[in-house]
């Protein structure tokens, strides 16, 4: 019954995305001035909170950081499972289910990653990517406070993720699944830890980007859009647009 209620919310949202999506293009900005202001706010927040945390995190012993990364990634795999089904990608479904089952048990609740050693490499999938595989275009680009760069399609995806993610189901919705349940704090702690881990792993890249960009906002926008394209195609092959310069 609860799923039926969620479905009723999701249908009009998805309908709106299908309706709006094809009319908008990835390079288009929704409201650039506001996005640039939000970006500035996010950068200030990063300077004051995220960057110091990331630098402190990087001082932890490597096995601790690796274990944390494994743990948050393993929980993230739960969101990939319904998206693998929605995308009809059953090979990846096998990787996601197998990886989660093995790492959650043999891998001590996901702290270790024995699944990788036997060749299981689940791709991270979310609703934004699933919509992309259905042919829904990105819609215009904007920046959300705290959450950062996104597009119309991906922001709908972020919202929809919380309805189909089993981890969100047992934490922020406080439902029981296989005798397991949690609360908001569990959900946001895992998400925040994942964000710090990501920021710490890319600390030098961020520094270099900040130092070498003439327009950091545009560089981050380009990187975000390229990354999302690659994730939807499940490929990191370059899209050739050199045209006549290659002749």
């Amino acid at each position: 019954m609860h799923y039926l209620k969620n479905f009723k919310i999701l249908v009009p949202v998805l309908f709106m995305v299908f309706l709006l999506g094809p009319k908008l293009y990835s390079a288009e900005e929704c409201f650039e001035k506001t996005s640039r202001a939000v970006f500035k706010f996010n950068m200030a927040l990063d300077d004051v909170i995220l960057e110091p945390l990331a630098k402190g995190y990087n001082k932890l012993p490597s096995p601790v950081r690796k274990g944390t990364n494994n743990f948050t990634s393993n929980i993230g795999t739960l969101l990939s499972i319904p998206n693998n089904i929605l995308q009809g990608n059953f090979k990846q479904l096998g990787h996601s289910v197998g990886s989660f089952a093995i790492n959650s048990t043999v891998g001590l609740l996901g702290v270790l990653n024995p699944a990788e050693k036997i060749g299981l490499n689940p791709h991270k999938e979310d609703v934004g990517q699933t919509l992309g595989t259905y042919g829904v275009s990105t819609g215009c680009y904007f920046v959300l406070p705290v959450l950062g760069p996104t597009t119309v399609r991906d922001s709908v995806g972020i919202f929809a993720d919380t309805f189909i993610d089993p981890f969100a189901h047992i934490t922020i919705r406080e439902k029981e699944l296989l005798s397991t349940s949690g609360n908001n704090l569990d959900y946001f702690s895992v998400k925040a830890t994942g964000a710090i881990d990501f920021r710490a792993e890319n600390d030098k890249n961020f520094e270099s980007l900040e130092k070498n960009s003439i327009d950091l906002y545009s560089s981050i926008k380009s990187i975000y859009l390229q990354d999302r394209e690659n994730k939807i195609r499940n490929s990191i092959e370059d899209q050739d647009d050199w045209g006549s310069l290659d002749n």
């Binding site: 390079a27 490597s62 690796k66 792993e201 030098k204 520094e207 270099s208 130092k211 070498n212 960009s213 003439i214 327009d215 906002y217 545009s218 560089s219 926008k221 380009s222 990187i223 390229q226 990354d227 690659n230 490929s235 990191i236 092959e237 370059d238 899209q239 050739d240 647009d241 050199w242 310069l245 290659d246 002749n247």
Partner: protein, 198 residues
């Protein structure tokens, strides 16, 4: 004075011996070039200035900076005057070299491995490689876009790091600057010059 002579002599010796001829086969070209760069950047006997000179020399010789500049300019390269393009190319080269030396001077030791090559056409080949950081971090996949119009002298046109094209990122960054300045190429040149001087 003696120290100065020794210093100048060592710079001359360094410069004259720093650039070697690499293979014309794209795969071997990337492998030889990167191995040489890694060796030089890891060399504790070279100071920062010497390393920067080496990076600039390698970039001027083996990166197609001219084509990269035109690519990053986007459609404006077709409608701009020859003088503007020439002015832009000069500023772009300085910008590119400064940006490259800044990125590489923070280099930390890594292992490098060629994975495969994919000849896309008579004029370009993608060479896939991976970098294995010595600090235990995850492997980084890097694809090299190699321009082979002159088969005896391959040139690097783009680096695609984990699927993110550096040339495309640069192009979109410049497009944003141009778009907020009425597509005025001179505004972009000013921004590039400001970056070089800062």
């Amino acid at each position: 004075m003696k120290k100065l002579v020794v210093y100048l002599f060592s710079i001359f010796f360094f410069l004259s011996s720093s650039l070697q001829a690499y293979s014309s086969n794209p795969r071997d070209f990337v492998n030889d070039l990167v191995s040489d760069v890694i060796a030089k950047l890891s060399d504790k006997n070279l100071n920062k200035e010497q390393k920067e000179i080496f990076i600039e020399e390698v970039a001027l010789e083996y990166v197609d900076i001219n084509a990269l500049g035109l690519y990053t300019l986007g459609e404006l390269r077709k409608s701009s005057s020859k003088d503007d393009i020439s002015g832009y190319q000069k500023s772009f080269e300085k910008y590119f070299l400064k940006s490259l030396t800044s990125r590489l001077s923070e280099y930390s030791s890594s292992k490098f491995e060629i994975l495969n090559e994919d000849k896309k056409s008579a004029t370009y080949t993608i060479v896939s490689s991976k970098v294995i950081p010595d600090d235990g971090g995850p492997d980084i996949k890097i694809d090299w876009r190699i321009y082979t119009k002159d088969p005896d002298k391959p040139l690097i046109r783009d680096l695609i790091v984990e699927g993110l094209s550096l040339a495309r990122t640069q192009k979109e960054e410049f497009a944003s600057i141009l778009s907020s300045n009425d597509n005025d190429i001179k505004a972009l040149i000013i921004k590039l010059e400001e970056f070089v001087q800062n």
